[in-house]
Symmetry: C2
Subunit: 241 residues, 2 copies
């Protein structure tokens, strides 16, 4: 018997049906907005269940009336993320909050980033809670796991990437980068920041200006602002050509 992998919530189930992951079945509570058409198109059976049963299947109350059994999440190969000469990769150094990982994935997918790199240990992985927090974006985004973040940064620099770490208080602002060519941006966990060995693997550090009384932006907000600045600069260049 195969181990059971589940995603839950309207967006995560819909995006799993649209994405490359195999979906074995959809469970649906009575009054939920139907995903039957989407499931039928893929030949996926839809099984009616009670909300209580669904809560047990999803192991969460946050299922919005729908869940699906899926194959395990297919992580990408980190090195492959660097193939494109315009690769834009976000590295999350030991981000343990599933909400933050999911939120960064959603923004990265929207901004057209190449992918996300996370360490195998002491990091949130692509769990059902992360699928939910990403609104299903992880189904369409490359997420790679690496044993050692510093080694990945060294590889990225060998492959010609510019590697920047985001850090409150860094003198250079994120708006000063041109985001041209392969670009890797590293963000650390809130409070702790980027680990010293990872920081040492960066070409430079950048910050977002803060004008208020509190210390810093949420990590997913910071990542989103940087991703959209990269998209803005890149779009401006391509429209000049």
């Amino acid at each position: 018997m195969r181990e059971k992998f589940v995603v839950y919530g309207r967006n995560p189930v819909r995006e799993a049906l649209r994405g490359p992951r195999r979906v074995y079945r959809v469970w649906q509570a009575e009054e939920a907005e139907t995903l039957q058409r989407e499931a039928a198109m893929d030949g996926v059976p839809v099984v009616p269940v009670s909300r209580d049963e669904l809560g047990a299947i999803a192991n969460s109350r946050d299922h919005q009336g729908v869940a699906a059994e899926v194959e395990p999440y297919g992580y990408a190969n980190a090195e492959t993320l660097l193939d494109d000469e315009d690769a834009l990769v976000i590295v999350l150094d030991e981000i343990q909050d599933p909400q933050n990982l999911g939120a960064v994935c959603r923004s990265a997918e929207c901004a057209g980033a190449t992918g996300i790199v996370i360490p195998e240990r002491r990091s949130a992985a692509v769990t059902p809670a992360v699928c939910k927090a990403s609104a299903g974006a992880v189904e369409h985004l490359s997420v790679a796991r690496v044993r050692n973040v510093a080694d990945f940064l060294a590889l990225a620099r060998e492959r010609g990437a510019w590697v920047y770490g985001a850090e409150a208080g860094a003198t250079a602002h994120y708006t000063e980068l041109d985001y041209d060519g392969r670009t890797v941006v590293v963000l650390g966990a809130e409070g702790r920041g980027i680990r010293p060995r990872v920081r040492a693997g960066c070409d430079g550090m950048i910050s977002l200006p803060v004008r208020g009384a509190i210390e810093s932006l949420n990590v997913s907000s910071a990542a989103t602002v940087i991703l959209y600045e990269a998209l803005r600069k890149r779009s401006a260049r391509s429209s000049e050509i």
Copy 2:
């Protein structure tokens, strides 16, 4: 006996101590990182409690070992937010998710926005969960409640503000605005968007480009990107002078 208002979590309690709101007492569980110095500076008594007692006081498990009794949140006057000729105001049209309201408040405070306007009804208010989600930023940010959002937008336009609504698919991109002078940006709830009567009160609609497969950014991510674009444009102008 006064009604009891509570904030919980390390950042929310610290920012309440630093901000204008009166703090009557701090409750702290044994092993929590101490806020005693901050409390002592304000002459606020620190009461040791068990984690279970704290859970009951905070009515949440998310208290991180600390909570405080505070005076009720002091909402700002919406009209006053428009006094500054460079006012930058975010209007949230019926955003009911406390996480999203808190996240927008945090980003707005960081970006130096003038304040946030929310409707009195069918909107999350500044509850303890919102204080937590904002990392305490609401203590330093003006949040105003209005009876009628469309009326506030009409007033803002009378006072010389440009009012823009953020909407997926709008032809104009957020990067095309100059964010000069009084600027009001309206965002709606995920899925439903901005209500028609509120939309009709906007001078124009703007969107954020999306390059991926999923429909749209999270509302707090969209707000953050717009706030930082406004800050970027305004900083560039002031450094030219």
